[in-house]
């Protein structure tokens, strides 16, 4: 173990069982400021140490990164990584060359970004998670192997690091200790984005070494491209689920709604994160209720790739991301819809709305918009009528990084909440300065051996603290429900796990959900509560 305060980038390859132990995490606010309010980190099992790379911080993010059996395999692994590192600065990576070269060349290491990083802060300022730590290791390796000049000059330029299997494997793990939320880039005086290094390391691992976390790759993009959804749901099962949803809606609101599927020429193709149908069916149901009541011309698609908006490729693999984007667009084009509307999924917003914008053009590119402007339009035009007293409990809003900081969709959700939630209060900070939920860039779905502990105790810690502070006035009053509105599937999943881990629902009645559920709960037309915790 290296004392984290003394740790420097050159230590990444240092031979030791584990570089750091996460034992000085940031204190939480009341009532979690008392001892015994949160579980400790579990010990790392010996078999995990043998099998995976636990030598960074004891956590395993990449379950497919296995310890090699012999020295030759280790050497081959390092060489492949170097090949990938070289390609990152080649025409194979043209979609990011300029921003990457800028941050590679110009970072002044002024350390302004550290204070902006929720993981660094939540870890109690552990050196390993300082945004420039990962960046500097990347830079050092590149300078050592790809800078022209002799050994002395390379050292002078910063190329002074030992490269071995452990260095590369730990760097791979370290790439999955950043949520890619880009809050650090927002504060950089030179406008540089240190999270790019995390993304590029992930890309080298996936696109060159063929190594990526199973939930992102094999059970993520690969499964989606094979079956149409990362949930593995095929067309027939999807159609069944929609029928079930219609029954569920009838049970909930007392009237049956016909959910349109594959309606040719509809105005809107609504694409949800398919995980919603499995984990939170009340969310797509709420969309159906709202669109039906407002008389919107919309449809779902049951075609392969048309019913799952997710695109995990944007977190680790450009090629997978592009394949998914192109196929989703093809579905929309074949249906003849005028626009694609993305449901409550932050990364899907970014993938289809922003990343796709430079991957396709002309008639093949169907316009994409967020569900938020259209929902606000329905509220403003009074096509939906609300009784805000139905939502008369404290509500706070989580801003998904992809929708807010990275797309500038800030006000519509706030305007809606002001209409439907009389006790709405902001988190601090909020809007474009928000903190990531801690589940961004795949963390929400990464379940390998002990990664959820890292998420719950470190990456999502700042969000949990924000939630506690937002509800400071009623947190101890368990009779008052408190609602965290998180209009994004991955954020919602992260918050669900957080509330379970800290027993915040059981002890303090902190609830969570999306925005549309809250809207339906406040509809004048609805006789009984839509939110289950109100019905109990």
């Amino acid at each position: 173990m290296v004392n984290q305060r003394d740790m420097k980038p050159q230590d990444l390859g240092r031979p030791c069982e584990q570089l750091t132990q996460l034992d000085e995490v940031m204190p939480l606010s009341f009532p979690y400021d008392q001892p015994g309010m949160e579980p400790d980190f579990p010990d790392v099992k010996p078999e995990w140490r043998e099998k995976y790379c636990t030598s960074l911080d004891g956590c395993v993010g990449i379950d497919t990164l296995r310890r090699p059996e012999n020295e030759n395999m280790k050497k081959e692994f390092v060489q492949k990584f170097l090949n990938g590192l070289e390609k990152v600065f080649s025409d194979a990576n043209s979609g990011v060359l300029q921003p990457l070269q800028l941050v590679f060349e110009y970072c002044a290491k002024c350390n302004t970004c550290s204070e902006a990083c929720h993981i660094f802060k939540a870890s109690g300022g552990n050196e390993l998670y300082r945004p420039i730590f990962r960046a500097e290791v990347f830079r050092k390796i590149y300078k050592k192997y790809f800078t022209k000049g002799g050994r002395l000059y390379k050292k002078y330029a910063g190329g002074d690091i030992d490269l071995n299997w452990e260095t590369v494997a730990r760097l791979g793990e370290l790439a999955y200790r950043c949520n890619l939320c880009r809050r650090c880039a927002q504060t950089c005086p030179l406008g540089l984005d240190n999270s790019l290094f995390a993304k590029e390391i992930r890309k080298i691992f996936s696109q060159e070494l063929g190594i990526a976390p199973t939930p992102l790759h094999n059970k993520g993009t690969v499964l989606q491209l094979k079956t149409g959804s990362s949930t593995g749901i095929g067309k027939a099962a999807f159609v069944d689920m929609v029928e079930f949803l219609e029954d569920d809606i009838e049970d909930r609101i007392g009237r049956r709604i016909k959910i349109p599927i594959d309606k040719q020429g509809a105005d809107i193709l609504l694409i949800h994160n398919a995980g919603e149908f499995v984990a939170w069916p009340e969310n797509p149901a709420a969309f159906a209720i709202l669109f039906d009541e407002a008389g919107v011309d919309w449809t779902l698609s049951s075609e392969m790739m048309g019913y799952d908006s997710v695109n995990y490729g944007i977190w680790y693999d450009d090629a997978q991301a592009k394949k998914i984007i192109l196929q989703q667009m093809q579905v929309a084009k074949a249906l003849g819809v005028k626009r694609i509307v993305i449901g409550e999924c932050g990364h899907a917003h970014k993938a289809a709305g922003v990343v796709a914008d430079r991957m396709i053009y002309g008639e093949d590119k169907i316009p994409v918009e967020s569900f938020l402007p259209i929902m606000l339009d329905l509220v403003r035009s009074k096509r939906l009528k609300f009784d805000p007293s139905k939502n008369n409990f404290p509500v706070t809003l989580h801003d998904p990084c992809n929708i807010v900081r990275q797309m500038g969709i800030v006000q519509p959700q706030r305007e809606i909440l002001k209409v439907i939630a009389p006790q709405f209060r902001e988190m601090t900070p909020h809007g474009v300065a928000n903190y990531c939920c801690g589940g961004g860039s795949g963390f929400a779905i990464m379940t390998s051996p002990n990664f959820p502990q890292f998420r719950n105790k470190v990456s999502a810690r700042m969000k949990f603290d924000q939630i506690l502070r937002a509800f400071a006035d009623t947190i101890a009053v368990s009779s008052v429900p408190k609602y965290v509105c998180a209009p994004c599937s991955n954020c919602k999943g992260t918050i669900r796990e957080l509330l379970k881990y800290y027993q915040a629902t059981a002890k303090f009645n902190v609830q969570y959900g999306g925005l549309v559920e809250l809207m339906v709960n406040a509809l004048v037309s609805s006789d009984k509560p839509y939110l289950e915790f109100l019905a109990e």
């Binding site: 043209s94 990011v96 070269q101 350390n111 302004t112 902006a116 406008g191 090629a319 402007p373 800030v410």
Partner: protein
């Protein structure tokens, strides 16, 4: 003569190498959208970080941009280093001292050139002549003194902080220490050379000599000039050329949110970018093209 020409050569190389650096970045391929909000050109929405994507069917509506708010934000960053001020105040004092000092030094250089031409025209720059010569005389003194003090203090403090701060020390390479030391050396040698005459008449005389290629060398002057010229040539090829990088990182990355809509300039750029096939290929199994179906016999 050679000394005079070297001054011109260093100046020309600074401009040419800077232009080359800018051209290198400008010629890089179109990258994916990576804007971060607030984007200052978003008219009316930049205050809270909003964008055109807050509108229903935004592609049917004009993208309302404001160059004024973009320029105001740009000036705040250029003139005040606002992000550092907002996010790391102690460091800002040092960095701003250096940068403001450099701005003063640039102004001082132009005042020296103006003074040299005035002298060469036969109007002696002094405290007792026309308003123009008096103006140049006093402004040169103030600008030079403030410039030397601020930039030297800033460079020194930044260097000392990098040496003693346990965090920054870990991340600073020998090359980065050299960069700050080079600036400091140019400033200190300049102070040694010009401080005996705080009216800067000697500096003005040197400028006139440089213009007419008739510099009279002495040891202190030659040492200062060599350091200064090395610095001018070195800056554009080092990370100190961040005045180039900062333009691209803000205007072409963080603030670039032009949508690719039908018939737009961006659509053409995307079309061109997508027509270029990469020669370098990734090696992972899933990155390989699908195997061709077996030929029928």
């Amino acid at each position: 003569m050679i000394l005079g020409l070297s001054v011109y050569a260093a100046g020309i190389l600074f401009v040419v190498l800077t232009a080359y650096k800018a051209a290198t970045y400008a010629k890089m391929p179109l990258h994916g959208r990576m804007e971060l909000y607030p984007v200052p050109s978003e008219r009316g929405r930049h205050i809270y970080g909003g964008s055109y994507m807050e509108e229903v069917e935004w592609w049917r509506k004009p993208h309302e941009v404001s160059k004024v708010t973009e320029i105001i934000d740009m000036m705040k960053e250029m003139l005040f280093i606002r992000k550092l001020f907002d996010n790391q105040r102690p460091f800002w004092w040092m960095s701003y001292s250096l940068h403001l000092g450099i701005y003063f030094m640039i102004a001082w250089t132009f005042l020296l050139i103006a003074g040299a031409f005035t002298d060469l025209a036969g109007l002696s720059v002094s405290a007792h002549a026309s308003w123009w010569t008096v103006f140049l005389y006093y402004l040169t003194i103030i600008t030079g003194a403030v410039g030397f003090i601020l930039s030297t203090a800033g460079a020194l403090l930044l260097l000392v902080r990098r040496i003693i701060d346990p965090i920054l020390k870990k991340y600073t390479t020998p090359q980065e220490y050299f960069n700050l030391t080079l600036i400091l050396a140019a400033l200190v040698s300049g102070i040694i050379l010009w401080s005996p005459d705080l009216t800067f008449n000697a500096a003005r005389q040197f400028t006139a000599d440089a213009i007419t290629l008739s510099i009279i060398p002495n040891a202190t002057l030659v040492i200062h000039l060599i350091i200064l010229e090395v610095m001018f040539i070195y800056i554009p090829i080092s990370k100190m050329s961040h005045y180039v990088g900062k333009y691209f990182s803000y205007h072409k990355v963080l603030w670039e949110n032009a949508p690719n809509v039908v018939g737009s300039h961006m659509e053409m750029k995307v079309k061109n970018a997508l027509s270029n096939q990469a020669k370098t290929k990734w090696s992972a199994p899933h990155m390989q093209p699908p195997a061709a179906p077996p030929k029928e016999k």
